[in-house]
Amino acid sequence: MSRALKPPRWPLWGALLLLVGALLAVLIFLAAEYEVGRDQAALDQDATTVVGEIRSALLRNVQTLQSLNAFSPTPASWDAPAAELLAQRRELVRLEWRDPSMAVLAQRLSAYRPDVFDLLPRGQALPEVRQACDAAQRLSGPAYSASYFWPKRDGRGLEVMELCLPLSEAGEPRGFLIATYSLPAMLAELTDPVTLRGRGLSFVESDGARLAVHSVVPVQRRTLSAHALLDLPGHTLLLQLESPRRALGLFPNVLTGVVGALSLALLAVLYLLARDMRRRQRAEQRAADALAFRKAMEDSLVTGLRARDMTGRITYVNPAFCQMVGLTAEQLVGSGMPAPWWPPELVDEYQQRQAVRLAGQILAREGYESVFQRSDGTRFPVLIIEAPLIDAQGVQSGYMSAIIDLTEQRRIEELNRASQDKLQATARLATVGEMASLISHELNQPLAAIASYASGTLNLLHQGDGRGDGKGDDDDGVSDDIERAIRRIGEQAERAGRVIRGVADFVRRRDQVREAVEPHLLIEGISTLLTLQAKKRGIRLQVDIAPGTPRVWCDRTMVEQVLLNLARNGMQAMPLGDPGTASGLRVLRIAMAPVMGEAGEPGAGRCARWVRMDVTDHGQGLPPEVAERLFTPFFTTKAEGMGLGLSLCRTVVEQHGGALDFEPAQPRGTRFSFTLPVAEVPAGRPLDAQAALL
């Protein structure tokens, strides 16, 4: 339930993951950028270094060239050192010594490139030479021309540059030393190959076109490039140093890796923490649920619960207990002895009992009965079941008691007993009534005969009077006496009859209450008693009430007596072991079913006017001599019987207009059947039945 109330967690987790992912990506990106930037800076540094190298080499060359002319003042002596110089300096393509009017005094071509001026004559390059020399004159020092492309015979060409070195002697200009530089060779010769390993070096124009290339980076690779200006007097060259971009790993460096790993670890820790938290929350929830469950359980109990410590102080009570004694939990908890619910007159006894318990005697598991007092002073019986309260360390810390209020149970027991008593009283009364009825009948018969004889005799005497009028007076006195005596006999017989009738009427005064009764109610009233007796004899009681059995119009109490009598007789006909348990015949069957109208009766076959009730046993059956005298009053086969049971049954049934009968049952035993009128006859009220009974 609490889980459903919580917002779903996955968006939170998704956002967190996204954030960490983004952070990692940014970190990696920045790290990569940093790496690239570092590479770029290194490259820039290297480019500057290369330019410096080239510049200083060029300066050295200028000094060398100046010394060349200083030590070889004549063109003839100049040729040899020039050749040697050219052999040493491969970047130089040609050396010329020109006079101030630009006429060539001596010249020497590098042995390494003898074919440079094959395609075009040297004269073609004169403008660049002049440009350089003009600049040199202007600067009064060595100056360079702009670089230019010099095609060769083989279809390729060479980017070259002129260096003009003005020569002077004692302040007099003596001409110019012109050195032609090959730019590719400059790059190859004047730089440190170690710096250039794996890198591309070239001179480029400002628009990026390559003028001279020393080395290139494979084209498929992305590259970094650095530019540095080679600032020469008269001309400026742009040097480009290229470097392949380093392939970067996912984690460009250890730091990134560590940070990434740490954040992942953090994430994992966070996840584990969250999971642990959730588990803990769940556990707490479960614990709370369990607590609530226990609380609800304790609250719902009708059994009172009470815990006491070893000194007898209350440590806990549940609501049922509070309700029982009519005090609140606050009033009860902490109270010692004598307890507030002890009836004042029993305190001593309870104190004693408590002392026995505290002495460590083991109490009976089935508990003991006691009497408590409510706050309003009323007493009520309780059953107390106690158990020692043992804590986690195994030490007894007190007692836990369950207290059951026996008031209701007592009431039901009382009620049951009362209903049993009532049933038995009814039975006794009915028996007495039947006995009175039988005795009155039996006595009335002879009394009727006596009265008849007396009346007859009087009749005869009167006839005698009529006939023998003159028979003699002395006879009259005698016959008068006789007549008086006989009249007395008749009167006394009548008096005896009245006495008997008075007794019978008194016993029978109970109003015969007729009511519509559901058939099953007739059984229910006596089932407790029957079940008890059946159990004692190991007999199974089987009650079959046919569906649609209508209500019967009867005196419920009396019909219950009939059923009880018949059922009891049936069970007495089946003593233990006859029939045996294995036979499956130890069954007493009580059946109820409507009797469909017999042929000839009005409404035959359509609706029942009678309900037939059968009580079948599987005893030995009735011997003929018993069957013959079965309904005779005071005839019995039982030692303690009065012989009134069946007689009573017949009286009751006949009073209801029904008939009691019996027949042998299958496979053995006897079936007693009787009929009772149906309460509702569709035509209206139970006409015939009522008429017959009224």
Partner: protein, 209 residues
Amino acid sequence: MTEFPDAKIYLVDDDVGVREALAWLLRTRRLISDGFDSAEDFLAGAAVARQEPDVPCCVLLDVRMTGMSGLALFEKLRLLPWQAAMPIIFLSGHADVATAVAAVKRGAFDFCEKPFSDNALVDRVEQALRQSAAQLAERAVQRELQQRLDSLTERERDVMNLVVAGLPNKLVADQLQISVRTVEVHRSRVFDKMGVKSAVELANRLRGL
């Protein structure tokens, strides 16, 4: 001495002492009785259970007997066509008022409790015999009337119906499309056969049927 020298009284009681005492009592009043010790015995032995009695009769019936009870026997006898000519008086040692009222309601002549006082029972018996005699006489008259009616011809019956309805001879003749003379002949023959002297007398006799 007695009104009913040939009357027949049936005693049905399973107690022989009571039966004999009653028979003796009745004899002192010059009444002749027959005793039966059970309902079954009565049904088998008494002529009145099978055919209409020709002399006044009465049945004294004990309520409770072994075998078929008095009430059950009464239920059977009640269905006989001559039941009115055979009054039934219940005798009971159980002063059961409810049973008594029910029995009388269903057509019993009376209900007497044992022991009987003096001659009250015999007086009731005589009243019953009187009723029986009256019933028998009535039944005899009815029978005779029926015989007379049976002796009429069809045409005479037609004429009689119209005459009894109060029509004068002329209208009767018109209705039956016969002459007034013929009507007069038929009419006198009807009066002859029915043993009456006037149409009013005839109508009175027929009303009793």
